[in-house]
Subunit: 322 residues, 2 copies
């Protein structure tokens, strides 16, 4: 293993994620018309980050875009679930969750990260879309854009990472996916050691990508993943909605909270290991409702939207007008 | 071990919890002026329950009172964290969470339960108070009423169970207790085997209570635990509040959600083992807000209330007028 090369890659990954945060925040601020506030923070155990949040914007009720570059020692029982050796780690990446005000505009989440444990390094991340009122064309646009990026690097990526996303962003206690999915991957570039983790990764042999190729894919995804979302915002932001649509949005946001607090590995890892709580929980929606035993009226727009989400369709295949 | 006696105790515990639900629901409905809806449900793995919920009441924005009596097989890795032997279990009990509409009225939670794993049986439960605008006299009233019940049975109960409650209802990622506490206990009556569990119980020798004495304590607590809360509701329900107080209540309810979804063992156990989701999550508040990096203005009523909660005081000692 060429340690100097790894270190150089690490430095480039850090620089890329930092610049990507700048670029995405710039684009979102201009889309919304409101500025982000910035908090730089240090992690007691090593490293730190830069959290940027937009609250009460025109488009976004809350938009959070976080960059972090942290390192230190993993708890032994946690380190055993990761590729590599020992307890020393470094993790750098960007994560964002955008909660629009309008129920016509979907929520989106994206995360890209580089990890090193001992001598093993890998990339992970993905992006997924959570519509309240699903418009088929939007899900198709989102998935096709992701497939296009994936296909430039490896034809096996999109189908594998789409399935992985469907499995990961799923609420077993509700028997519901979180939304229409997208792509999700982990341990990419870690080689044959990539067999750990709660969500089983694909067979290790499929992951045998060299670090440079993987980084090229991650850069490409980072540079293009927000484009379909911005197009969806442009399509939907002017559409009318009222109290009924707002109520449905707030109830569905409850599912977002349930997923992030009960299942999301990044959230739980952060909360339990001295992460900066406000940066971790900026993923939670600004306003949420729960109603006992609520179900949408059969055949209503809310019900049809939910049924389409439950179907976990192959959106990139183009099922519009079925 | 006298199995016939255990079975007879079990039957009496089930009957007591069922009647207690009737009584508490009757009292709350008359306090609120609105009726509860009832859902009877079966658990696929064995047993079932009766969930009663009041929504959009005059006093309560949501009040949920659940009775359950379930049995079946525990997953082996979970069963190892409990006293007793084997994987067969029975669990019966009552649990309630009341979310008042007025920010002047505290939220309250209570739970009493009987468990059997193999040849071991025990009781657990407790009750804790979560004020938004803390009035010292209310916390004192609540704790003194609990101490009075405890003292009738064992002078060591109240101080031990008060500390246990303070440790259990705590959010490490916020470094905040959930509220002013109350009492919490587990494994009571299980004898020397009671050494398992995430929250370390007191030394087993302290728990050497015979099952009949423990059941007498649980009955006494069940019959008296709601009285101080009803008195607090009577004191506070007429007090005025506005948008500012409502905002603070909704933000603090976010902490309630964080505790229940990230830490509460009953909630997580239920969600991960085929429990009835709507009965488990009726504990969540009907409306919640999160604001990025919010802290109350130093010296404001919200700040003073939070500071008093952070202090985890010995309320039963009477600190009013300090």
């Amino acid at each position: 293993m060429d340690l100097s090369h790894e270190t150089e890659l690490e430095g480039r990954a850090v620089a890329f994620f930092r610049l990507l945060q700048d670029r995405i925040v710039g684009e979102l601020a201009s889309l919304d018309g409101q500025p982000f506030q910035e908090d730089a923070w240090d992690r007691p155990g090593g490293g730190g980050g830069r959290t940027r949040v937009l609250s009460d914007g025109r488009v976004f009720e809350r938009a959070g875009v976080n960059f972090s570059d942290v390192h230190g020692e993993l708890r032994p029982e946690f380190s055993r679930t990761l590729p590599g050796d020992g307890t020393h780690f470094r993790a750098t990446g960007i994560s964002l969750v955008l909660h629009p005000r309008s129920p016509r505009v979907p929520t989106v989440h994206a995360n890209l990260r580089f990890l090193r444990r001992g001598g093993a390094t890998w990339f992970g991340g993905g992006t997924d879309l959570t519509p309240y009122y699903l418009v088929d064309e939007d899900a198709v646009l989102f998935h096709r854009a992701l497939r296009e990026v994936c296909d430039r690097h490896d034809k096996s990526f999109y189908p594998r990472f789409k399935r992985w996303c469907d499995r990961y962003f799923y609420l077993p206690h509700r028997k519901e996916p979180r939304g229409v999915g997208g792509v999700f991957f982990d341990y990419l570039g870690a080689g044959a050691e990539a067999t750990a983790g709660e969500v089983a990764p694909p067979a290790a042999s499929e992951c045998e990508q060299d670090a440079e190729s993987v980084f090229a894919f991650v850069r490409d995804l980072g540079e293009h993943m927000m484009k379909p979302y911005q197009e969806i915002v442009a399509r939907r932001r002017g559409e009318p909605w009222g109290e009924g649509e707002r109520e449905w949005q707030l109830l569905r946001r409850g599912r977002y909270v349930e997923f992030n607090l009960v299942y999301d590995r990044g959230t739980l890892f952060g909360l339990r290991t001295d992460g900066r709580t406000e940066s971790i929980l900026m993923s939670l929606p600004p306003e949420v409702r729960w109603r006992y035993d609520f179900a949408p009226k059969p055949g209503s727009p809310e019900d049809l939207s939910l049924q389409a989400i439950l179907a976990q369709r192959n959106w990139a295949e183009g099922t519009v007008g079925r």
